[in-house]
Amino acid sequence: MKFVIKRDLLIESIQHVMKAISSRVTIPILSGIKIEANQDGIKLTGSDADISIESFIPREEDGIVNIEEIEAGSIVVQAKYFPDIIRKLPLKTVEINTDDQFQVNIISGGAEFHLNGQDAAEYPQLPVLHTDNSFELKNDLLKEVIRQTVFAVSTVETRPILTGVNMNLDNGQIKFVATDSHRLASRELPLTTNHDLSFKNIVIPGRSLAELSKIIDDNEENITISVTENQILFQTKHLYFLSRLLDGNYPETSRLIPDQSKTTVLTKTKELLQAIDRASLLAKENRNNVVKLETRANHQLVISSNTPEVGQVIEEVTTEEITGDELKISFSAKYMMDALKIIQEEYVTIKFTGAMRPFIIQPNENDQILQLILPVRTY
């Protein structure tokens, strides 16, 4: 393998793939970066087995030649040394070549490095993109979906399947659901491309999605998503992000969502969020951060919290509208705040079905987002 490449492009690519490389590797080969060269360009790969990131540098882009003298081949180099070496080289271009003893020679100006590499055949085989079962989303939309669901995944490993976000695609509607069995966040959106596609029970680890959200840019470009047997692949122009999926059956969540309500509250999102936030100041002391909510006449809500050792707080909130039965309910302030924080709309509707039943939070006039919280039993 041999090529001469612009150093700043290589550095940028290395920075991308380094995000996937962990310092604690389970198999030795994953401590390296895989470099693959062919006539189209150079591909770098980094992986920690759970997620893998591939970054592609095309040979030519917009008429500008990035890479010269390409001889096809592949090698794995130590991620511990390679990035620093490239960063500190003297010239704007760098030549990298390998011999059949897996030695990597890095040449730039007078500086010459000889690194011991490893055989690229030892590197895990990552699946390739199949265009027939892929669909597209806008970058910023995907980031929004991740933000709206991933906070609700479970952090405890007792039910591992709940540490992921469930993705279902049917009839051109794509639905993301996350739950930790105390609360649930879901987001639905229509698909603009590839309507015939359908799959269900795809569970993407929450950690992978959080990582993905950090990597993709906040813009209107398209990201292609494709699902293979055991991995999911997100592809932007030159960056591929792969994640393993969680194995198992995601619980059926649609039955949990009540379809009728006894009490409905319509209120300003910000006001309610701030009131809950204030009430939770004292509730933090008591272990599960519980606040109480009561409906009063004249569209009034009373939010209170009482921690005997500290004190109590009572706050009245004027809502737009309250319909239905009177209600007293307790719930976790943290869950409520998490749910309200991701709602950008000015007004929010909360539908209760009694003090012991889960309740739904939805932005007004937008049923793509649905949040469900289980109340806390207090005596």
Binding site: I27, I29, A121, E122, E157, P160, R244
Partner: protein
């Protein structure tokens, strides 16, 4: 590169069982391979993992040449997980890692294999955690547990594994092979007893430390027999400084065990079986000194000492206690 046919001489029955099961595609979800040191547990386990992953398997034999086989050999296969004791035992975190691993889909293939060597050295917590997913195996996972001490494994784990017992090695076979290497018969016997493995035995022959260790054992017996009051001093001054780490201490105790076992053989007039052939006069002297009852007691004491060392009791204290027990 090994394949099943290379191992069949060493472990005919075990290999036959495994091959049959591979050919009939009836792979169980968990195996427990038990056998003494040097009986080929790791070899069998690796070969089994290869046979499960290799795409070019012929009659149950992996090709040893494809990507999957090569990567299993180099430890780089992403769907094969090999757990080895971290320090003295296999810790809870190591099993927790496995547990997490199995909630994910495979990186390349749909099947996964995990190998646990020295499975008897799992902590109680680790063993209980393992039990959890041994009990409800997810699809297409195979567990291969290896141990030298089948008794040290929880019954609940054992009952969930298919047990493959390996035949102990024939000491005589190794001994003759060592002798053909030019090692004296007396030494060959000791080496064969201790390592049960050709390569390790050859290494011992080169090892000055071992020669000195053997001398010390004989000296200790001598001191115990003739100058009892100096025995503790001997332990302090010579024994502890020579046997400085855990493995060395175990070896020292093993040598003592062989010595007293020899005494029993002599009493039974089975002098062919004696390990310390070159010290027959000293053995005779010991035999006059300790009664048969003493010898059994001492053997128990040495076994107990081994256990104590394993439990991190201070070696000097263990050895001192043992010396006091060995004094008549």
């Amino acid at each position: 590169m090994k394949n099943w046919n290379d191992l069949i001489d060493k472990q005919p029955i075990a290999i036959k069982i495994i091959k049959q099961m591979l050919m009939r595609e009836r792979v169980s979800h968990a195996y427990l391979i038990q056998g003494d040191k040097g009986t080929g547990k790791a070899e069998i386990a690796t070969l089994l993992a290869k046979s499960l992953f290799c795409q070019h398997r012929v009659n149950g034999e992996p090709c040893n040449n494809c990507k999957d086989c090569n990567r299993i050999d180099s430890g780089n296969h992403p769907d094969v997980h090999w757990i080895k004791p971290d320090g003295a035992s296999i810790k809870k975190e190591q099993i927790a890692y496995l547990q997490k691993e199995f909630t994910y889909t495979g990186l390349e293939s749909k099947q996964k294999v995990y190998l646990i060597s020295n499975a008897d050295r799992m902590t109680t917590n680790a063993a209980n955690r393992l039990l959890k997913f041994l009990e409800e195996p997810s699809r297409q996972t195979t567990a291969i547990l290896m141990t030298e001490n089948g008794q040290g494994i929880l019954d609940t784990i054992k009952s969930r594994c298919q047990i493959i017992s390996l035949r102990p090695l024939a000491i005589e076979q190794i001994q003759t092979q060592l002798e053909s290497d030019g090692i004296t018969p007396d030494n060959a016997r000791v080496f064969a007893m201790i390592t049960q493995n050709l390569a390790a035995a050859r290494a011992l022959n080169q090892d000055e430390w071992f020669a000195q260790a053997r001398k010390l054992v004989v000296q200790l017996i001598e001191v115990l027999r003739t100058k009892q009051e100096e025995a503790l001093l001997f332990i302090q001054k010579q024994w502890i400084s020579h046997f400085s780490d855990r493995d060395q201490l175990f070896l020292g105790l093993d040598l003592l065990i062989y010595w007293f076992k020899d005494l029993i053989y002599l009493q039974l007039e089975e002098s062919d079986l004696v390990v310390f052939q070159s010290y027959l006069t000293e053995l005779e002297a010991s035999l006059r000194y300790w009664t048969r009852y003493d010898i059994t007691e001492i053997l128990y004491a040495i076994m107990e000492a081994r256990k104590l060392i394993d439990q991190n009791v201070h070696p000097t204290l263990v050895m001192e206690q043992l010396t006091l027990q060995m004094q008549r």
